[in-house]
Symmetry: C2
Subunit: 375 residues, 2 copies
DNA sequence: CTGTTAGCGCTTTCAT
DNA sequence: ATGAAAGCGCTAACAG
C-alpha cells in the first residue's frame, strides 16, 4: 500500500521560496497576497508567477499568529441530529465562506457544561467569533467570552434582557398563535409534548406560549398533560403513548417541534387514533418530515436559513469594524395542514376565542399550503 | 449598548505570565500542559494554580505553528441540506472531539471545483487531516493532497482501485438487491429517479446496481424511464411527474436515495396514483423521512453513523502513527416497508428471479420492520 | 526535573 | 514601491 508516508515529510513551500524565485523580499510576497494594490504591477506578476509555479499555499497558522486573526468562526450547536441546526449552520457556513471565513463546528448535546468546554477549545484554536444556539447559557460562558473579547451572537431566540447580541424569533409567540388557533377551532382539552426545558430556552418559551394562550382563554394545561421527551422519534412516540393512556385524553396536542410532533403522530397511528378526527397535532419548524406526513403536520415556519445568514452577516460586519444591528427578531409564519381539525366545542356554539375558520385537512402536498403571516 | 469593544483590546494571558507567577520558565509551563508526567508534582501544582488563577487559555495557533499540528480535521461534504451528511459529520465530530480534535466544516454543493477550492482553504488553515465524501474527485485534488502530505479518507463509497483510503459500503450492491427483490415480486417495467451522477459516485453506483439487476434478469431500463433530479423534494416530485406522464408507466420506481423517493411519493399522491397498488417505490438510506411516510418507504439502511465513526478512528490512528485499515466496506441492510407490492407478473406464474415472498404493506411504524441483512 | 535558546512562517513597522 | 528586521506565543532541542 502507498499510505505509508509518516505524514509531513515533504518540506513545505514557504514565502521565502516564492520571494527568492521572484527576486523580491518576503515582505513583498506578503503584500502581493494581502494588499496587491500597493505592489508594482510588474512585480506583482512575477510574484504571482512564482507562486503558481511553486504551488505556494500560504501558511494560515503563521499568518494568524502574527496578524491575530484566524479567519475562523466557531459554531456551537446542541446537535446535528435535529436537522434544523445543520441547515442553519449550512447557511452560516455559506455566507461566511463568501467572505473568506471558515466554520469550526462543535456540538454540546444539550449539556451547558459541555458547551463551556468546547467553547474553551475554540478559543484555544483562536476563532475570531462565535455563534451559539439559544439564549440560555452558563454564566461562566459569558465571562469566558468577555475575557476573550471577540464577537459572538446568540441564535434561535432573542435575549429578553437585550444584553447579548442575538438573532432569532419569538418562540413564545409562535406556539401562542398555534394554541389560540386551536382554541378557536373549539378545542378545550390540551396536551403538550415538550423537550426538556432545562437550559433550553426554545422549549421553555414554546411551552410558555402554549400556557399563555390557554390562560388567556381561561383554560389550564394539566401537569399530567405535559409529557417530556428527547428530540427523537422513538422518545416522542413513547411520550405520546403515555398521553394517550390518560383518562382525560386531550383533543389537541401541541409539540414544541416537528420531530416531537411526528413521533406523536406515529403513536397515534399505532394506537388507531385518527388525526385530526380524534386528535389534532401541531409542531414547530415546518420541516419536510412534518410536511410530508399523512395528513400533513400543521406547524410554524421558523426562519431557519435566515437566522444563519443574518448571524453570519452580523459577525462579518463586526469583525470588519462596521455598524451592525445587535438584536434581530425575524418573522415566522403558521402553516396549516391536515393534522388539525375542529374540537368538541366547535358545534356547541360557544367559541371562547376568535375562531378562524378551520382549514380542514386536504393539503398533503407540501410547499403551497395555507399560510398566515406572523412575527 | 455594550457591544462596542473593538474586539481584541485586553492583552491576553500568555505562558510567560503563568511562568512568572509560578516561578518557573515557560518551558515548564508547556510541559505541565503537554507532558505533566515529566514535571515534579509540586511544581505541577504551582503551575496549575497559576493557570487557573490567571484563567490561562493556551494559544493554540502558536502551538500549531511550532509543533506543526493544528488538532483540526477538515470535513468536506457536498451539502448539509441532505441530512445524512450532517449525521455522519456529527458522528465524526463526536469521535474526534473525544481525542482533542476539532472539525472544520466545508461544503461544495456537488461542485468538484469548489471542492478543490475549499480544500486549499483548509490546507491554509493547517488542518491535520481530511474527510471527503465519495470516491469521485478532481485529479488535482489528489495531487494537492499528495503535496500536502497529510492523511485523508474518502467516505460513503469504497475506492474501486483501492488507491485511496476509504470507508463506505457497496452502493451498487444496495440497489442491486433492491431491484432484484422487486423483480422477484413480479415487476417487469422499471423506472429510476436519480441524482445527477456527474462527479457523484453514489448516484452512479446506485444506478449501475439497478441496471445490473435488470440486465441479469433479461430486462432493460429505458432511457425515458430514468429521470434526473436535484436532491430536493420539489425537484424529485417534478421528476416523478414526468415519469408518470410516460405512456409506458413503470410499475416500480427505484430512487437513488430517500429524498428522491419521498418526492416521488408526493407526486403519486398528488396524481392519485396508489402506492403500492399502482406503483412500488424504494429509496436508499433509510431516513426518518422515508420511514414515517404512509405507506412506509422500503429502503436500505446505510451505515451513516458508522462511516463517521470509522473515518474518525482511521484518521486518529494515522495521525498518531498507529496501524490502520485503509479500506473498509461496512454492511448495509434492506428495510422492507409498505411502499412496495407485487408486480403484474406475480400472478402469471413466471417469476424470472428468485421471488422472496412479498411483504405486503402494513409496517407503517418505524423501527421494527422486516430486515434482510446484507453487505 | 528544569532552564536556556532558537525559531516555526508570516506580517508589520520603519526605513529607504 | 520595496527591503530589513522584529517578533506573534509557543514547543523542541539541548544542557545542566
Amino acid at each position: 500500500m502507498v499510505f505509508s508516508r509518516p505524514s509531513g515529510n515533504r518540506t513545505r513551500v514557504a514565502a521565502k521560496d516564492v520571494a527568492r524565485l521572484a527576486g523580491v523580499s518576503t515582505a513583498t510576497v506578503s503584500r502581493a497576497l494581502n494588499s496587491p494594490e500597493q505592489v508594482d504591477p510588474d512585480t506583482l506578476r512575477r510574484v504571482r508567477d512564482a507562486m503558481s509555479k511553486l504551488r505556494y499555499v500560504p501558511h494560515g497558522v503563521a499568518r494568524s499568529l502574527r496578524s491575530r486573526r484566524s479567519k475562523m468562526v466557531g459554531a456551537i450547536v446542541p446537535s446535528f441530529d435535529y436537522a434544523l441546526y445543520a441547515r442553519t449552520t449550512s447557511a452560516l457556513q455559506q455566507r461566511l465562506s463568501e467572505h473568506g471565513y471558515s466554520v469550526v463546528l462543535a456540538e454540546h448535546h444539550y449539556e451547558l457544561l459541555d458547551e463551556l468546554q468546547v467553547t474553551r477549545q475554540l478559543i484555544e484554536l483562536g476563532v475570531d467569533a462565535f455563534v451559539f444556539v439559544g439564549v440560555d447559557h452558563d454564566p461562566r460562558l459569558f465571562s469566558l467570552l468577555e475575557d476573550y473579547g471577540r464577537p459572538y451572537v446568540l441564535t434561535w431566540g432573542v435575549d429578553p434582557m437585550r444584553l447579548h447580541p442575538s438573532v432569532g424569533f419569538d418562540n413564545r409567540a409562535a406556539t401562542y398563535q398555534l394554541a389560540r388557533h386551536l382554541i378557536g377551532l373549539g378545542h378545550r382539552r390540551f396536551g403538550m409534548i415538550s423537550a426538556d426545558p432545562t437550559g433550553n430556552d426554545r422549549a421553555r418559551e414554546r411551552g410558555a406560549g402554549v400556557r399563555a394562550a390557554l390562560a388567556d382563554a381561561g383554560l389550564r394545561l394539566e401537569d399530567s398533560h405535559v409529557q417530556y421527551a428527547r428530540i427523537s422519534l422513538p422518545s416522542a412516540q413513547q411520550a405520546m403513548e403515555r398521553m394517550l393512556a390518560l383518562s382525560q385524553r386531550p383533543t389537541a396536542v401541541l409539540a414544541t417541534n416537528d420531530v416531537l410532533a411526528v413521533g406523536s403522530m406515529l403513536a397515534c397511528r399505532k394506537a388507531g387514533v385518527r388525526i385530526p378526527e380524534d386528535i389534532s397535532i401541531t409542531g414547530v419548524d415546518n420541516t419536510d418530515l412534518g410536511a410530508t406526513q399523512t395528513p400533513g403536520l400543521t406547524s410554524v415556519r421558523t426562519p431557519i436559513i435566515e437566522i444563519g445568514r443574518a448571524a453570519a452577516d452580523q459577525l462579518i460586519d463586526r469583525m470588519e469594524g462596521r455598524a451592525f444591528s445587535a438584536i434581530q427578531s425575524l418573522p415566522f409564519e403558521l402553516v396549516f395542514r391536515g393534522s388539525i381539525g375542529p374540537g368538541p366545542a366547535a358545534s356547541t356554539g360557544k367559541p371562547s376565542a376568535p375562531a378562524k375558520p378551520a382549514r380542514k385537512s386536504a393539503a398533503v402536498v407540501r410547499p403551497p399550503a395555507t399560510r398566515a403571516k406572523a412575527g
